[in-house]
Subunit: 151 residues, 2 copies
Amino acid sequence: MQRTQFGELACSIARTLDVIGEPWSPLILRDVWVGIRRFDAIQADLGISRKVLTERLKWLVEQGILGRQEYSHRPPRSEYVLTAKGAELCSLLMVMVAWGDRWTAGDAGPPVLYRHHDCGHVSHPELHCSHCDRPMNAGNIDILPGPGAAA
Amino acid sequence: MQRTQFGELACSIARTLDVIGEPWSPLILRDVWVGIRRFDAIQADLGISRKVLTERLKWLVEQGILGRQEYSHRPPRSEYVLTAKGAELCSLLMVMVAWGDRWTAGDAGPPVLYRHHDCGHVSHPELHCSHCDRPMNAGNIDILPGPGAAA
């Protein structure tokens, strides 16, 4: 199975892709994040087949990205909610959006905007160093082997 | 073609996935980023078929993520380099790594570490607001329709 092959690489990119590495999973995650939490609503929003959606939701729950929360006892009905692991993955979606807005939105401009609660301004996320708080990007780092590197 | 379908959604996540939405593309991008730039070297590093690698490299060049740079005239040989668009996409990989390190690395710890040039410390990227510089995440923003939202 392709999934296992990627997850076994000593690489956090490959392992993350192992969880969300096909287009539907990030879009399902996006839907739950913005409040589209029920099977039928997600299915209608994405135009995804019920079979594929069932599989992807099961996978995302197994991976601890989404949880189920009952909203009706009779009949029993549940909706999907983000776990802490899933909520942090939404930060990845935000960076995906920042890149997509910049390079793929074209003349129409960004499909959505983010308003930051702290300052009240529409803005976008930038990467800062967890140690010194200054900007961090692929051009101002060295990449070193970590403790989990393959022998 | 599934690719077109995603790219046509008024959603920067879907459009970004349209460019890198299958596991090989981000891993090829990672290889070029860390200096594995020649066809044979990428092929050996990823264990990917030559056919698939040829297709994915062609796609990434067409999308303006990678460029080709000749390193030998006779015989003519070229290697792949990041464009500005591709280099910014590596920021997305860095956030992917931060999430993967936190949630998928297990007891072995992170496969790689980043040392930030500005401060010299091993650290990881965090998201900060482009307006006020304070931390930004999926839990402290409102999502508003943007100019490019579908009618």
